[in-house]
Assembly symmetry: C2
Homo-oligomer: 337 residues x 2
Amino acid sequence: MFIKIGLIGKGNVGSCFLELLKIKKNYLNKKLNLKYKVIAIYEYDGALINEKGIDIDEILLLRNNFRSHKDWKENVKAIDSISNLNLDVCIDTTPTNPNTGEPALSHIFKALNNNINVISSSKGPFYLKYKEIHDLAKLKNLLVKYEATVASNVPILSIKDSLKGNEIISIKAILNGTSNYILSRMSSEGVAFSVALKEAQELGYAEADPTLDIEGYDAAGKLVILANELFCWSKTIKEVKIKGISKITQHAIELAKSEGLIIKHLAIAEKGTLIVEPRLIEKDSPLNIEGTLNVIELQTTYSGPIIIMGRGAGGYEAGSAILNDLISIHRIINNIK
Amino acid sequence: MFIKIGLIGKGNVGSCFLELLKIKKNYLNKKLNLKYKVIAIYEYDGALINEKGIDIDEILLLRNNFRSHKDWKENVKAIDSISNLNLDVCIDTTPTNPNTGEPALSHIFKALNNNINVISSSKGPFYLKYKEIHDLAKLKNLLVKYEATVASNVPILSIKDSLKGNEIISIKAILNGTSNYILSRMSSEGVAFSVALKEAQELGYAEADPTLDIEGYDAAGKLVILANELFCWSKTIKEVKIKGISKITQHAIELAKSEGLIIKHLAIAEKGTLIVEPRLIEKDSPLNIEGTLNVIELQTTYSGPIIIMGRGAGGYEAGSAILNDLISIHRIINNIK
């Protein structure tokens, strides 16, 4: 049986995912008995659709010229079309409006309402409507996976299943690479906030409008998803107390340093509360990571701290997280032990 | 349906596991629908046996006087008895002879041959007879879990399932807390190897005979299990090139320091080879951890390095890893999604 996939969004993440599907095709078929057909690939202005399965090799060779492929249908929209294709899994990788979660949010509800399992790398829907999405999935007996939304391929959501014999008390994390890069540079090179920000923008780490990163909204969204998942909460981003790093001065950093401390932009979940703010940590804390990495420290009742770190962003990183979600769904729906 | 458990070994790990079963009983019953009965608890000189289920509260209250309990049967041996009790899961927590893997090895084969799933915190069987154990389990359609054998509750074996969409290229790890503690002290305090070793022994980190730790055999055993699991190998400890740390001098440590480097006792698996030896690493490497922690760095094709760290030993740590293995087995045998 083939898993029939609809992919929404053929940007960096969507394209890397397709490439991974191609590279790992043999492994998926032979080792995991996972056979797939990509039935539709949606963009904002149309879609590639082929009910017998799109030729991914051809599409990847065409790169940004994929609209010239014979399967391209102008003006077909995902929201109208996904319900007509008998899909098993719908994968959303669209860029999200951070305040509304759209268009991903509508795609997810549409898919679930039409009995299609969901994978998403868009976090908006999950920090805005976590409960509603999960309630609907449960009602419909469907799966929703979104490992890529927090720390990309670092498996911090699926680690939950491996810690059920323990008990997580608190989460402390660095979930935004841009703000961590800026603080790292301010600390190691002694440069001002504005200089470090400009550097981050030139290196492509920060957006032209870096507000979501430096003011903590991006980290807060990820924190909501992480805490909801690990603590079985149903909170939204409105419940996070958020403070950014734009007011951190060189003076404050030097003062901390003189006490052997470091200022980091931490995302914290404990005792029912969610906080993103600059905090002082010990210089030799495992949370003292440099550059654009992400790190998560889980304090546990029976094993003390468990720490996991890795890259928090990138096309292949998110693509491989999505592929792993697909493998999980395959194992569950096809009852593979 | 109750899961019927036989526990072999009521030392520190076995007792902590029983305590966790008690503490988390409500959670297991209500949230995970996992109902259990502990039918037998074996020690070297007899066993507690009750086919209706041993009263764990009573046993825990008796502490080391458990042999006074009404269910105690003198001279009953696990190897003769486990096949007679209709067990679903046999949990081995016995101390292992590092060269033979006994008595755990025989317990595991006996259990599998009698259609009983296995959980083990004894690593000997898995670095000596990994293939044979897995072949038998497969033949019998049974489950064998042993998360506690490597880095205790740090879920480095089960992380495999979360990285199938990626590809692990190499493993670099610190898997022995004692030798890491000694090197840390030599480096931070400038003390000689013999002094740091004595300190570790006084603090209870090192055994009276510390050979297995400082000569690398303990780390090598864990490395075999980790690499077999993550790379689908079937190697044994004979295939590990092992060098200890007892010849590391203060001079060597100072020399490394002057270049900004640190000497660590690394366990490395890459390109088909297994090595445990002292290696130089950068001062700001994530592998530069202090004290008795364990750390594992997985180099991956699609997400760069993924690092996970935490406590590598301890009764509750191992107990919660075992409990998690039990939860996994429950989910699989009872087909819970």
